[in-house]
Subunit: 338 residues, 2 copies
DNA sequence: TTGTAGGCGTTATCAT
DNA sequence: ATGATAACGCCTACAA
């Protein structure tokens, strides 16, 4: 198939492999116009394509970075990936995408495989349960960036939403429009899932700041699939919430499923706000007020950090990059009467 | 950083590189239990990780396949990618994902880069405007599969929806529920975009089969962003449509934007059906009747085909795999009175 | 300005 | 059962 090698080109052009190599690397400086042309012709004629693998072996760099995500289907993932790809494209890098499915074992295997494949850097949406693996990378100063989640106890550049602020923003917005019976809707709370916990904390802090109580009655945690049922249960209680804060797009779906099935009117009976600016937010009725993550900026930053780390080769102190959420005011909340 | 090589392991274990290599490739057959253990220990102690690049150079296979898509953000893409990744994962392959942004030049560059990186196969969501590039691959018998779109004149395994049937399905369903004034809503029609044309043809055929006329009045083609405006224009005309067939998720958004802004009631004033089972289909009000593509099956098949081609190494005649759409009956169409 | 030679880390072929 | 040695295709001194 493709067996044309540099040697073939060299022979046809009547020069040595080195010269061809020079040519390929655009070091024309001391090359006669004459040979340059001959080489170009030979390449053309043979349809020569350099073998980057061979080059990589020598140069110890592959111009590819690995990205391990825990959920490829998640909208955030897709958008961040897109930005990463774009940033890599600019620099002539390629991206190997791996989906861990939030399984730490798979994640670990992927890290090892990618390292074996000599990727130049790694961007990970971590499961959060592989501290040892990450720590080794950090010790080796291997270019690594976390996105969306971070791993407590592992000092790595991390790109994430200012979750605390996002939750505060939700509560503030509700409160300033007269809502008090605010509940947070979230997947099960597990300690290693940092964003989840941060959102809860932000929620709690903002509530308490206003003297609103936070207890079981306004923390609704369940698997997305079980959410509608859980919400229905909550809504028969006397002091049912009149404002729901869904901490991500998946829980939002649970909430919307519920209001539809139960015939609860939005925003008259219950107001809704959520994190993640879902694509249907403004065609839904009522248009959904959301809190958007700057996904593109986050992806870009993540890529930029790996590249900087690749350059630096000295750990210039890992940093956490917090991105500010932005409120997208629409109509799933009744305005006024603060 | 990672300079531990096979030679180091060999030295520490007091064996030759060859033996270590055997060990790594699990050819224990003629290896003493003793040396086996020594090697294992050495590897452990040094934290040795094989260099797959070096292996690839020798074996001429990289266990990675390249995927070039024209729009990473598209839902179909994401889901198909997911399936491809999963299928590759099973076989120990990795996936390099590239986004052409529907730009033929970028697409071409990516093909070249991926070949230079020695990927073992290529799955492409083609822009449709690089026949020459593809034809070369075909001549070289390079494992290649097209997804979603195909390229007329290039004989390659292609995985796509039965677009004709999908469009027929839409018309049939409308018609059998008493609708006559059916319009198709599509992005601009360009000849190299095969699915688009096929959907239009299916629409036309199904309409004519019933003696419904097809003309300018029921082909609404515009850039998604311009669709709401275009639809508004159409809806002031006397014989306005009472059924809209959106050929993909993007045009659906345009349609929904329009009905919301114009206050057109669904399904009372206009019924809607579309291709692509968008995630919010059943939380929308009314729940959207859609025509789903088996995205997962399509991705899986695409991956399987590349692997088969890699095995076969003989062009066993390129095939087009048509996947059947499935109707997801919900409530954006009034039932009955056929 | 161009060529020679050695090496990158692994595998494969033969010996032993 | 294990080892020596030559590739794999490219890059890079250094030599000419």
């Amino acid at each position: 198939m493709k067996k044309v090698t540099m040697a073939d080109v060299a022979k046809l052009a009547n020069v040595s492999k080195s010269t061809v190599s020079q040519y390929l690397n655009k070091r024309y400086e001391y090359m006669s116009e004459e040979t340059r042309k001959r080489i170009a012709e030979a390449i053309e004629e043979l349809g020569y394509q350099p073998n980057i693998i061979a080059r990589s072996l020598k140069q110890k760099t592959t111009a590819t970075i690995g990205v391990i995500v825990f959920n490829m289907l998640h909208m955030l993932t897709t958008q961040v990936l897109h930005a990463i790809e774009e940033e890599c494209q600019k620099r002539g890098f390629q991206v190997i995408v791996c989906n861990s499915g939030d399984d730490p074992d798979k994640e670990k295997t992927y890290v090892e495989t990618l390292l074996a494949k000599q990727v130049d850097g790694l961007i990970v949406f971590p499961t959060g349960k592989n501290e040892d693996v990450y720590r080794r990378l950090v010790e080796e100063r291997f270019p690594l960036v976390f996105v969306d989640r971070m791993v407590p106890g592992v000092e790595v550049d991390s790109v994430l939403l200012d979750n605390f602020a996002a939750a505060e923003m939700a509560v503030d917005y509700f409160a300033s429009n007269g809502y008090r019976r605010i509940a947070i809707v979230t997947p099960p709370l597990v300690p290693y899932n940092v964003p989840r916990m941060e959102r809860l904390e932000g929620f709690r802090a903002a509530m308490e700041k206003r003297g609103f109580e936070v207890g079981d009655q306004n923390v609704i945690a369940a698997e997305p699939a079980a959410l509608p049922r859980e919400l229905k249960k909550r809504f028969v209680e006397p002091e049912r919430p009149n404002a729901l804060f869904a901490i991500n797009d998946l829980t939002l779906m649970g909430v919307l499923r519920f209001v539809k099935d139960a015939g609860v009117r939005v925003p008259d009976e219950v107001a809704i706000i959520n994190i993640d600016d879902v694509p249907f937010a403004d065609i839904y009725t009522p248009a959904l007020t959301t809190i958007a993550q700057p996904t593109f900026a986050m992806g870009k930053k993540a890529a930029e950090r790996v590249f900087e780390q690749m350059k630096a080769k000295k750990a210039d102190g890992p940093r956490v990059f917090r991105f500010s959420p932005t409120l997208m005011e629409r109509t799933s909340i009744r305005r006024g009467k603060a």
